[in-house]
Symmetry: C2
Subunit: 383 residues, 2 copies
């Protein structure tokens, strides 16, 4: 890793520096750090995209505001030449064109997606990857065809236990060159909400969201919803590819194989009230009645409760009607703001009784940090 001071100036790097860098990328040790933001994290933050939290106001996130994490490069896919193969342990391998996929029965579902690494930059020490704070979220209306009936058409054999989904994006991670690939158990893949998606918010997928076709696995963190899908393979053994076995794991240290990341942990986020300072993003609020609001979601069961704390005192928020089994739910809270500094926070609890912690258990890759958000505001007297 290089810090901003250590990085080479804009000119050509020295040969030694170049050799160091090649050695580093062949097998980097991305040890979590207490140190400052690194140049590499800045590069990732400049490419990947969070949803500004004021966009919590939209039931459906405008396409250009949805969060985006792209591991490698956004690939260029020619839709006319594109084919989806469904093979491996099946009786009738399929190869589908985009038109054939679109002619199948379709469904449109509002789904909240969240990056498994959301909140990573709030952990200490800080795992090194995209430095998300709160903003790796978004809710879209996804349109596609359910996967289950396609599996039936292909005739998945009894000895298959998983499906491996392969995207068109390729690169190197942890010294391993690979296509982005993830697997799902057949039971998960056959859930009626799991679908092959070709439209988002009523329009064809934009390139960055997986054009022409992606998988969407509602309820799971985003890594399961493989973009730029090109093949599905039924296999008899657990898939051990990089993105399944090496990353997206709840690990205690570098050597711990860890538990797989799967469904989204219960969470709520508040849209910061008032107006911001450009640089610090601290908030200025006028005294008097203020409606606080935000969204809550989770992939492990319906949300039962959202609470809001003003300066540490918790009270129930009002939940809006459910908008879908896999979409976030709006909440609101009436606050009588008094002049001075205040700290606001929110936390959600799901039907299983899981609630957001003050601090989530630390893990080596910074996955699933659903710790409570708190927002500092300054309330000024109303003129």
């Amino acid at each position: 890793m290089t810090t901003m001071e250590q990085r080479p100036a804009a000119g050509a790097p020295s040969a030694a520096d170049r050799a160091d860098r090649v050695a580093e990328w062949a097998g980097p040790s991305r040890t979590p750090t207490d140190g400052p933001l690194t140049f590499e994290e800045l590069q990732l933050a400049g490419r990947n995209r969070g949803m500004p939290l004021e966009a919590l106001r939209y039931d459906i996130t405008p396409t250009g505001l949805h969060y985006l994490l792209v591991h490698f490069d956004i690939p260029a896919v020619d839709p006319a030449a594109w084919r989806l193969s469904l093979g491996g342990l099946v009786d009738r391998p399929l190869e589908l064109t985009l038109d054939e996929l679109r002619e199948r029965p379709s469904q449109t579902i509002p789904v909240t997606l969240e990056c498994a690494g959301n909140g990573r930059a709030r952990l200490t020490p800080r795992p090194l990857s995209n430095p998300w704070m709160f903003e790796a979220i978004g809710t879209a209306e996804w349109t596609g065809t359910p996967l289950g009936p396609l599996l039936d058409a292909a005739g998945v054999r009894d000895d298959a236990i998983e499906l491996v989904f392969t995207g068109a994006d390729r690169g190197v991670q942890g010294g391993v060159e690979h296509d982005f690939q993830r697997s799902l158990s057949l039971a998960e893949a056959r859930r009626p909400e799991v679908m092959l998606v070709y439209a988002m918010n009523g329009l064809p997928l934009q390139p960055q969201h997986g054009f022409p076709v992606r998988l969407v696995v509602p309820g799971w963190y985003g890594m399961a919803s493989v973009k730029w899908l090109r093949s599905i393979e039924a296999v008899a053994e657990p898939f051990e590819g990089y993105q399944q076995a090496r990353t997206y794991r709840y690990k205690t240290d570098a050597d711990d194989p860890g538990d797989p990341v799967s469904r989204i942990r219960v969470r709520s986020v508040m849209a910061p009230p008032g107006i911001p300072d450009y640089f610090s993003r601290r908030r200025l609020v006028d005294a008097g009645p203020v409606t606080l609001g935000g969204r809550t979601w989770g992939g492990r069961g319906p949300i039962q409760r959202v609470e809001v704390a003003v300066d540490g005192t918790w009270a129930d928020a009002t939940l809006a009607p459910v908008a879908g089994d896999f979409a976030w739910r709006a909440w609101s809270f009436e606050w009588d703001a008094t002049p001075g500094p205040h700290t606001l926070a929110c936390r959600a609890t799901d039907a299983a009784g899981e609630t957001q912690p003050a601090a989530a258990p630390w893990n080596y890759q910074g996955m699933g940090n659903n710790a409570i958000q708190s927002i500092e505001v300054t309330v000024r007297p109303t003129p």
Copy 2:
């Protein structure tokens, strides 16, 4: 400023810390730094959005990939209640609905926009604001009605010298609370390409791009193209608002009033070839013929030439046909890649003979850094 180590943990901050922060935001001194990335820069990078450079492949940037800089919050504007007022030193003040604006003569122009702060994070010491590297760019097809005829309809008086454009976004910057406002001289405002825009890439503006109506000033850095426009006022004196007189200036130090930032400096950017490493973004390229490519643009005259350097040796690239007076232009360069590490670079020269420097003159706010981009790649033998 706080570094990652110094920032408070996720719990409530101490009263002293809160008081410090309030004092800080009332009049922060954002002195450029040689130090590490700050927490505030990370927050901005998580909100604002660069265009991943592989998207240089698109003549027109997909809406969700266009760069985005929002000073304050994206405002919620009700299009039915929205009115644009055109007043000040005019004979016939106007108040227009969205429908009235859309019924006027329209034009659609491809325009490349770039943030004036693009490249800021490559300067040493680093000015403190959104830490852009190369990615604060994008080209859209903007549809709107030209401003000049509207000015004629309102009858701008002879004593007016400028127009002040006011957006619906409000916040604090440098201790000053204000609406985002910028001015343009009447001569600039009457140029035929300057327009009030209500559609981007054939669809109504998304909220983050200025819904329902924004100004677009082709050829200028992005700050001139005021989003969420709500009023235009003809004035007799130079406008001295914060975003005109205090920032968007080429300043040598904090006390220098500086020169105003205006038209886009000549620039070229290359799409990184090959495949990336996820974390370092270093590139891996197969040996043999490789077509390098990217875009070039500038707001001070047509581009005359793009050159590419491989390991410091410059040669001319091939320019694609011009796509419009204000849109970027594609270029390509055939490279026979040999195994080993290489450094690639590109630079553009415009018709006035201006060319990109190896290092741009440093300035206090990190504006207009059009220094040459260089990309390190590792070429491996072809199997």
